[in-house]
Symmetry: C2
Subunit: 327 residues, 2 copies
């Protein structure tokens, strides 16, 4: 069987099963969550790795190198945010074609270092290889000083599903750049920022953990796809009311009906999607520095159902991003 | 300027300078050594990342997938060995073409898991991406419980230069597989094992640190190239007597004079190259479970000089492996 038939998530399940054979007493979370977690000497240690590959994760020529560096690091920091952790160090492995301009590589690093400085993350190692395409692989090491972490596997029926911030602007940015769409300066700046300059929700992730949230994921593949991951890991279902999904207002104005699809399936917003009881959600709402919107609930069963205002199944649903599966 | 003009090491220097701007009090070793090191709660923490890219690090079709997995992990564990550390966890980022066979991916994992089991290293995370070529990026997390680490930058004039084991068999294996050379079964098995099934010198690395060695590197790019790294980091020179370099006997028999070049420049032997005073070297020799051979000394100045028995410059020297530099 080819990996294109099994798909990314099927392959991850298979490899996770192979790797999960031995029991490691200090290991808290292995393959299959946003980051791996293990008990360190005093705090819980976190590690995550993600690759960004030319023409797969980013169409070449769309993102300037500096923004590419920022975004690649932001996406990885977001995985630490989704565990409620504090990122500390980054290792950067670069694969570059021979004819890459040195100035482009230093611009890439400038983008990573700028974001790193904002979040107290230092680049402490890595490697560089020759390759036919550009590939950026970033490992983030972090910790949870509070001894509480957020996982994908703790959701329970009856809990509410909520999201930080607003969705859809990153996907709007990708559409704008890919299709060379023209908008007014304000909308252009909004979509550019969302797609090229995302800010990982580090403080918010820690706040969720502090306030008693147990389940979270970051929205990288798309709201529906990422919520499906929570459902699968927690062995529950989820029911989302499409009208409650907070769509970025500028995306709504410029993309109309299509903005719903951008918000549900676009991905790369790097907001946090989480589940918790009403009381915990209320505490989070009071403490959070950003909008917190309840969009549905965890139910018994499996998979994600999207319903309209009348409770009827909505037809706006599309799958999020999965490698190898051709759409 | 293109990266091919600046070269891998020039680019690393440039990026290390960019990344080294901020001072981190817990960081002990940043970019530029075999692994990064920082002060953890109780022990020194280590992390290293390395990519293996099809047709760059491994010609496609030469190494079976299982051996590729073993070798890729071994090369990374070797970086922890070169710090005197104990590897603990691995994160594996895989880039794979759509038409990759799932059986090949599980074989790759089987190779990594087999080696991991031998060294107590668990695969706890990673990611999988679609890509036009195969790329395997492995991050290793480890620690030094003894609070001593080996760096590249502590060598001093007057110290002896020594190496574990014997050199040249891995390069002999690559020649054999690439050129489809025929040898007797014993030689074939020896070269196969050296090239496809290297064992990282984890125990030996820890022993070096315990016995008071301060300076080490693993031989991945080639003896001369890796010793040059020590010289550069320590701001010293080195003088190697070519006749003292321990060449793997089977390589000597089958490759004759060429075996010297394989041993000096071939690389991928994953032996440890280190520098220390006579007394420390004697202690290491008594305690080590493998041959320890003194091959020269650290001198004032810069660069590596290779001399013959009469002390005259040897003409066998070739550079080791550096990305982007065309040879």
């Amino acid at each position: 069987m080819k990996v294109s038939e099994l798909g990314e998530f099927g392959l991850i399940d298979l490899l996770a099963e192979m790797a999960g054979g031995e029991k490691d007493e200090q290991l808290l979370i292995g393959i299959g969550d946003d980051a791996a977690a293990w008990q360190g000497d005093e705090s819980i240690q976190l590690a995550t790795v993600d690759s960004f590959i030319q023409d797969v994760h980013f169409p070449s020529g769309i993102a300037p190198w500096k923004e590419l560096g920022w975004k690649a690091l932001a996406a990885n920091l977001s995985d630490i945010a989704a565990m409620g952790g504090l990122p500390r160090y980054a290792l950067v492995s670069l694969a570059l074609p021979d004819n890459t301009e040195v100035d482009d590589v230093t611009a890439l690093y400038t983008g990573m270092l700028e974001l790193g400085r904002e979040y107290g993350v230092a680049i402490i190692g890595g490697d560089i290889s020759r390759a036919p395409i550009v590939a950026i692989t970033i490992t983030i090491l972090g910790s949870s000083q509070k001894k509480q972490i957020l996982t994908r596997s703790a959701a329970k029926p009856g809990e509410l599903v909520a999201v930080t911030g607003e969705l859809g602007a990153a996907a709007a940015g990708l559409e704008m750049l890919k299709l060379k769409l023209q908008f007014d300066p304000q909308a252009t700046a909004c979509f550019d920022r969302a797609f090229l300059h995302p800010y990982p929700r580090i403080a918010e992730g820690q706040l969720l953990a502090e306030q008693g949230v147990k389940t979270a994921i970051d929205i990288s593949d798309g709201l529906i796809a990422d919520l499906s991951q929570i459902c699968k890991a927690s062995q529950v279902g989820a029911r989302i009311e499409v009208d409650r999904v907070p769509i970025e207002p500028m995306a709504k104005v410029q993309f109309g009906e299509k903005s719903i699809e951008l918000a549900l399936s676009g991905g790369e917003d790097y907001e946090l999607l989480f589940a918790a009881g009403t009381e915990v959600i209320d505490k989070v709402k009071r403490a959070a520095p950003c909008p917190i919107t309840v969009i549905g609930e965890i139910v018994a069963g499996k998979g994600v159902t999207v319903v309209d205002r009348q409770g009827n199944p909505s037809n706006v649903v599309k799958r999020g991003w999965e490698h190898f599966i051709t759409r």
